[in-house]
């Protein structure tokens, strides 16, 4: 077992050298999480915009459900996706278990409620501000949603970054449906868990450093966008 200082030095060496294993794990993590954000955006942005503008009587119920889903335990999502994708499951014939696709599905399910909720919150104020004017232009409900999504683009980017932050840091679901297979489904968080248990602190710390840097970058981007939004007098 290495001492902490030795491990940290070796970890920094690995990060600076951009070691091959490290690079592979980082790239797979980014691929899985960015894909999950993409699919969550496809569903979450229009759904959140619809929730921000609808007068449906189901709206309060749907809002409650979305809020509840934001706190979904990742291991439960992992378990449900595992059951669906396993040979006996409804999607078993697709043979997706222990593939990056399965990990993307699990992460998409986890972050879609976050994207929906933040989109609704961002667009609700905009809708209130623009409702009458857009109605005067004769804009229909689809046009209204498209316009609001464009008007709220800065705030929505923040919502997507928040989703990405949740996805990249997630471990419970992806370890269940991905299996943490070396060179196939091993991502940063699952590697950190594995390497720590093996006592290989250098690689675990190296990945941890990259993960923290990514989290910092995402947060910095969110803060910068937020201050830009405030400066430009946007409603979001």
């Amino acid at each position: 077992m290495q001492s902490f200082s030795e491990a940290l030095l070796e970890a920094l060496g690995l990060v600076l050298a951009f070691d091959g294993d490290l690079r592979e794990i980082i790239l797979l993590s980014l691929k899985v999480s960015l894909s999950a954000v993409f699919f969550a955006a496809l569903v979450g942005l229009p759904a959140g915009a619809w929730l921000a503008t609808t007068q449906s009587r189901l709206r309060p119920v749907l809002l409650t459900i979305v809020s509840a889903l934001m706190g979904l335990p990742p291991v439960v999502v992992g378990l449900v996706v595992y059951l669906l994708l396993s040979n006996a499951g409804a999607l078993g014939p697709l043979q997706l278990l222990y593939t990056p696709t399965a990990m993307i599905i699990a992460q998409s399910i986890l972050i879609t409620p976050i994207v929906i909720a933040l989109t609704r919150e961002t667009l609700a104020g905009l809708y209130e501000h623009h409702r009458e004017q857009l109605s005067l232009f004769g804009v229909g409900s689809i046009g209204l949603i498209k316009t609001l999504l464009w008007e709220g683009r800065n705030g929505l980017f923040t919502a997507l970054l928040a989703g990405f932050g949740r996805a990249i840091a997630e471990v419970g679901a992806v370890i269940i449906v991905g299996g943490n297979i070396n060179h196939v489904t091993r991502v940063m968080t699952t590697s950190i868990a594995l390497e720590t248990s093996k006592g290989n602190l250098a690689l675990a710390l190296g990945l941890g450093i990259v993960l923290v840097l990514l989290a910092l970058l995402v947060n910095a981007a969110v803060i910068m966008l937020g201050s830009y939004t405030a400066r430009s007098g946007r409603y979001s």
Binding site: H129, E132, L136, T147, E151
Partner: protein, 239 residues
């Protein structure tokens, strides 16, 4: 599509919290080229305007645009300019092209007409500037240019110059005079009696949700025998 030469309200009633806030048995606007709606705060002026524009559905009664009920194809034929302009987060030009495209124009035609509208409003130099970066007066002039660009038959203004400086007020009034000359019918809400005297042919006084008087400007200011109108003109009605 027949032009909307007037808007009529019949038996309008709106209640809020059990209180009647608008009660208009019969009203027609548009018989004069320019009508001013005046009255103290809370008189129901904005409610009336939004109801005539079909933005608000009354609890009772109906509104007709010309001979028939308001409908989507004629939606852009009745415009409304609010006290605080509602502009999209895009350039001045694109704010106008958006409205024009929503009214059915293709992108090229919309761009040409938007350019013309900005030039006519004296905003030609601000074409590519984000609408949110403009001053309050420029934003209101842009909102008016956008409202006029879609060539409405009737344009309502709800205290549209209340938050702008005298120079912008003058520019807006000039734009309105030109538009009226070109055939537009204007109905505006204002607390500025000077503006009412400068622009309006006809005046509607509202108080406590009721239309107290509707008469020609000269009659209203010089010969009214309605006691509430006389009190209003004497500055004795504040609420």
């Amino acid at each position: 599509m027949l032009p909307i030469s007037s808007i009529a309200a019949q038996d309008l009633l709106i209640q809020r919290g059990g209180r009647v806030v608008l009660n208009v048995p019969e009203l027609v606007v548009g018989n004069s080229a320019c009508t001013a709606i005046v009255g103290p705060n809370g008189a129901g002026k904005s409610l009336l305007v939004k109801t005539l524009c079909a933005l608000l559905k009354p609890d009772q009664g109906c509104v007709n645009w010309g001979a028939s009920s308001p409908d989507l194809p004629r939606r852009f034929k009745v415009g409304l300019l609010l006290q605080r302009p509602v502009l999209l987060n895009r350039s001045a030009l694109k704010n106008i092209t958006y409205a024009l495209q929503a009214s059915g124009l293709d992108a090229d035609e919309a761009s040409i007409r938007a350019n013309e509208a900005l030039q006519a409003a004296g905003l030609g130099a601000l074409i590519d500037i984000s609408a949110h970066r403009l001053s309050g007066g420029e934003q209101q002039r842009l909102a008016l240019a956008r409202a006029l660009a879609v060539k409405p038959d009737m344009l309502f203004l709800d205290e549209a110059t209340a938050n702008v400086d005298p120079a912008s007020t003058q520019a807006i009034e000039e734009q309105l005079r030109q538009a009226i000359k070109d055939g537009l019918t204007v109905v505006f809400v204002s607390h500025d009696m000077g503006q009412v005297k400068r622009l309006a042919d006809e005046v509607i006084l509202m108080h406590h949700g009721n239309v107290i008087e509707q008469s020609l400007r000269s009659e209203f200011f010089e010969h009214t025998d309605n006691p509430i109108s006389r009190s209003w003109l004497a500055g004795e009605i504040l609420l």
